[in-house]
């Protein structure tokens, strides 16, 4: 029994959590990560919603458990092929090196939407249009400023960039960006209580525990102003401010305003790895995400025997959801390894 093994592709939250769970049960785990550092997208965040928990702590707790002798970690390894042959799951990296195991778990996760695809918003063109990830990064360094180094007097967050947008082909809601915008707006106001923060939204989706409370607090305590409307275009003024055009769809009036910093809440898209490995195994679902066998009790298994899924390679999920999903996947894999 002890010789049975599993390959896990992607060492983000789901991959690490599942690796730990499986290794604890005495199986061999090969955990493969394309980047140098482990932690996946979690690395990009400073604090987590809705309780401002340190993202770094979550990440360290996960990684610290990895020193089990049953786990072999290979970083800087990008898997380009995954297939079942000679009774083994085989993962091949870009250097043509092969990893073999009895089962495979896909935890290849997501990437954020490339905001340049919405040119009218000016990302990559104007200095002071940034993405939510860049905001996190600034927050980490403790310096939220314009490119020119000034304290933003007015900041605007724009929700649903690349999500719920038929034109870019993403009809779905990314689920985390609304609450993330509330979190970031609150963080901003904690640092600069005298500045003004606006948030442009289609609907505020506050469907998690304590989300609504955070949303309310951002209005009552921080006076964040929420405007229902999408931003149709953004342009830089001569002094590097960003002029935005929108419509306040509650009052039905067109709206033009100038802000110092525009933050685009970029949505979640399937990562290239997810897309590639899922289609190779014919488990590709909508929008390039991977497809499980079914939502009810079969969400970690696939139509391919011995190939399992966990985390955001299936759909947008929050971090607690991802951890729970990884545990469930680990459970399924252990059962499977026991049987074969």
């Amino acid at each position: 029994m002890k010789n049975k093994s599993v390959i896990i592709i992607g060492a983000g939250v789901a991959g690490i959590e599942a690796a730990n769970n499986i290794a604890e049960n005495g199986y061999n785990v090969t955990l493969i990560e394309k980047e140098n550092l482990l932690g996946g997208n979690l690395k990009n965040y400073a604090k987590l919603f809705p309780d401002f928990y340190e993202a770094g702590e979550v990440k360290n707790n996960l990684i610290n458990k990895l020193n089990s002798e049953n786990i072999n970690v290979y970083n800087n390894n990008e898997i380009t092929e995954l297939f079942f042959e000679n009774n083994k799951w085989q993962a091949v990296n870009s250097q043509n090196q092969k990893f073999l195991a009895d089962a495979a778990l896909l935890t290849t996760g997501f990437t954020v939407f490339d905001a340049k695809r919405k040119e009218e918003l000016g990302y990559g063109i104007y200095d002071n249009v940034i993405t939510s990830l860049e905001f996190e990064n600034m927050y980490k360094t403790g310096k939220i400023t314009t490119k020119q180094g000034n304290i933003p007097e007015r900041i605007a967050f724009l929700n649903c960039v690349g999500s719920r947008d038929e034109k870019v082909g993403n009809h779905y809601c990314s689920r985390v960006c609304c609450i993330n915008a509330v979190k970031q707006a609150s963080e901003f106001k904690e640092i600069y209580p005298d500045s003004q923060a606006y948030c442009f939204y289609m609907d505020m989706r506050m469907a998690g525990q304590f989300y609504e409370e955070l949303y309310r607090k951002s209005q009552e305590k921080h006076n964040v102003i929420y405007i229902r409307g999408r931003i149709s275009e953004a342009a830089a003024t001569l002094d590097n401010k960003i002029q935005i055009k929108s419509e306040d769809t509650l009052s039905g009036l067109p709206l033009k305003m100038t802000v110092d910093l525009l933050v685009l809440m970029v949505g979640i898209e399937a990562s290239i790895g997810t897309n590639q490995l899922a289609s190779q195994n014919e488990i590709n679902g909508e929008y390039g995400f991977a497809k499980s066998k079914g939502l009810y009790g079969n969400d970690n298994i696939t139509n391919k025997k011995g190939l399992f899924l966990a985390g955001t390679c299936k759909r947008p999920l929050t971090i607690p959801e991802t951890i729970a999903d990884a545990k469930a996947a680990a459970n399924q894999i252990i059962k499977y390894l026991n049987q074969i």
Partner: protein, 608 residues
């Protein structure tokens, strides 16, 4: 006199046909607008009429255009139309020759074999007889193709055959019967009096004398009756295109042009549609989105029978692909625009602020980005970059936005507002003293060109960049990039600008051909003109177009219209760039090694 009662249906039908056509033509001619009438009067007695006759011959009889697009289909039309025409002409000569006078009974030519029973058997008669049989054979072969086309249109290279209305079916059935009946009737006469040639005579030999005697008269009655049916159904069926197209060709040659309003000319146009169905195959709504009831042929048909509804009128991308394909050269998108319901809201005048947009400095060159380009700011940045590299002074007319060329309003029916705006813009432009206006958006370009009367030169930025290169004002780096150029509808079919963008791009990389380019180019699906289909359908059209365009996996998909760029960028993960952006990235900057280095890096990153 050569007379028999069976000629009555024919004579009656022919007279009715003549009366109805004259009535219809008179009505449409009276509906021509002032300008059109002026041209008709001015050019009626001119060389233009001779040119028109020439074209009638080529298009209405020989069907040269259809022939070019589809030879087999062309032969079918030609054999039917030209063959029948010759049958009439040669028949008429034959009859006159026989009667010894030009003014013989008008039906004599039609039923010649029946009446010319005791014709002397000398070589002239034989010659006529032979020619008539040959012509009949040609017509019959065309007919056979027509029948095959109905049953199996794919053989003739048509993917979708037109669905017909009841008048068409009646006329069509009659038309199909005319020639076989004629053949049988003449064969029976030939059997009795031996006046047939190889065809009628040959078939006549198969008839026994008794049989021929019994069927001869009934066959002539049947022949005459189907002629009657065909003649009276013709003006209400698609065959009305035959007489209408003749007049249309004259009107066009005389210089009558379609305007924004529906006019008598439009009546001639919609009646000149032969419902050949070529436009269906050209339409992306059909081959990309499986919408098969809104194409120009149906739109025109519904207009003709006064059944047009908004759903059909507005379900069109206005891409002009059908206009390009139509063998009759109908101005299909223009007619559609004429008939689209316009808004009835009077609206306010919002454009007072234009007067305050003051350009104090005189300028030689104006740059007008347009509202669409404002949504693709990279194009504007690129243009600024190019202007500065060429050391050109210019006035960016809509830098702080707010100025519109007026076309969107005009299309919605805000004609007065649009006129106000046009006159304000015209003042702004003429005050500046500019001699050249450069547009980034083909739609604005078209609007300035067609709706304004500016006496300055107007260029699309692709033409302007071409000029800068020719004048050595800018130099470009050559690269290994493979570039596919997508012709925007309005720039290509709309303004006939195909070469300049290609000439510019070939200085930068290698241009890869695609299946659909230049006149055949596809619509990007981003068209704002279709107000009926769902966004999803529009995206399907875009995706199909994108698939075709990027089949060769080019490094860059280049275009020259902000709308095309936007609609492709949203779906394509590779590089989509406007021609101005590409040029700006590949500008060769001398005397500045540092900048040059950055350029090279950038080029490298595009290549990646």
């Amino acid at each position: 006199m050569n007379y028999n009662n069976f000629i009555i249906p024919f004579c009656l039908g022919a007279s009715l046909l003549l009366i109805i056509i004259i009535y219809k033509f008179a009505k449409w001619l009276s509906k021509l607008d002032k300008k059109q009438k002026y041209f008709v009067k001015r050019n009626f007695f001119s060389k233009k009429s001779i040119a028109a006759i020439n074209e009638v011959f080529r298009e209405a009889l020989i069907h040269r255009n259809i022939y070019r697009k589809n030879p087999l289909l062309g032969y079918m039309h030609m054999s039917l139309a030209f063959g029948w025409f010759l049958l009439i002409v040669v028949g008429k000569i034959e009859a006159s020759f026989y009667a010894g006078s030009f003014f013989e009974e008008p039906w004599l030519a039609i039923f010649f074999k029946f009446f010319a029973r005791e014709q002397a058997n000398f070589w002239v008669a034989n010659f006529f007889s032979f020619t008539m049989d040959l012509l009949l054979l040609i017509v019959l072969s065309g007919l056979a193709l027509a029948i095959i086309k109905r049953l199996k249109s794919k053989i003739l290279g048509i993917k979708k055959a037109t669905k017909h209305v009841i008048y068409d079916k009646i006329a069509l059935t009659a038309l199909w019967l005319i020639f076989p009946l004629r053949l049988l009737a003449e064969s029976s006469t030939a059997a009795l009096v031996q006046n047939g040639s190889f065809l009628t005579g040959g078939i006549g030999e198969l008839f026994s004398l008794q049989f021929a005697q019994n069927v001869e008269l009934p066959l002539y009655w049947a022949y005459s009756s189907v002629l009657f049916v065909f003649f009276v159904s013709l003006p209400f069926s698609r065959y009305m295109h035959i007489p209408s197209e003749v007049v249309l060709i004259f009107l066009r040659k005389w210089g009558a042009k379609a305007g924004e309003q529906y006019s008598g000319l439009s009546d001639f146009e919609i009646n000149s549609c032969s419902r050949c169905g070529i436009c269906i195959d050209a339409c992306q709504l059909s081959f990309s989105a499986n919408i098969n009831n809104v194409q120009s042929v149906y739109f025109i048909r519904d207009t003709r029978y006064k059944k047009l509804n908004d759903n059909i009128a507005n379900n069109c991308l206005m891409c002009g692909r059908c206009t390009e394909a139509c063998p009759v050269g109908l101005e299909l998108t223009l007619i559609r625009q004429q008939l689209r319901t316009k808004t009835e809201i009077a609206g306010k005048h919002y454009y007072d602020y234009c007067e305050n947009k003051n350009n104090k400095n005189k300028t030689d060159i104006i740059y007008f980005a347009g509202c669409m380009t404002q949504l693709t700011p990279n194009i504007i940045i690129a243009m600024k970059n190019i202007f500065s590299a060429a050391k050109v002074k210019y006035w960016f007319m809509d830098e702080d936005k707010g100025i519109c060329c007026g076309r969107p309003m005009r299309q919605q029916g805000f004609v007065q507002q649009s006129k106000d705006l046009i006159s304000k813009n015209t003042k702004l432009i003429s005050k500046s003293g500019a001699k050249l206006l450069i547009c980034s958006c083909p739609i604005c370009y078209k609007s300035f060109k067609e709706e304004y009367s500016l006496d300055i030169e107007i260029m699309h930025h692709s033409e302007y960049i071409k000029m800068l290169i020719d004048e050595n004002k800018i130099k470009l780096n050559k690269s290994e990039l493979n570039i596919v150029f997508h012709d925007p509808c309005e720039l290509g079919r709309g303004l006939n600008i195909y070469k300049p963008p290609r000439q510019v791009l070939s200085k930068i990389g290698k241009i890869i051909d695609t299946e659909f380019s230049e006149k055949d180019s596809l619509c990007c699906g981003g068209s704002l003109a279709n107000t009926v289909i769902e966004l999803e359908t529009q995206l399907e059209i875009r995706n199909k177009a994108l698939e075709i365009l990027t089949k060769s996996k080019p490094d860059i998909l280049a275009t020259a219209c902000p709308l095309c760029k936007k609609s492709f960028t949203h779906a394509y993960k590779g590089k989509v760039m406007d021609i101005a952006e590409i040029v700006s990235k590949f500008l060769y900057l001398q005397n500045n090694s540092k900048k040059q280095e950055i350029k090279e890096k950038e080029i490298f990153s595009i290549l990646k």
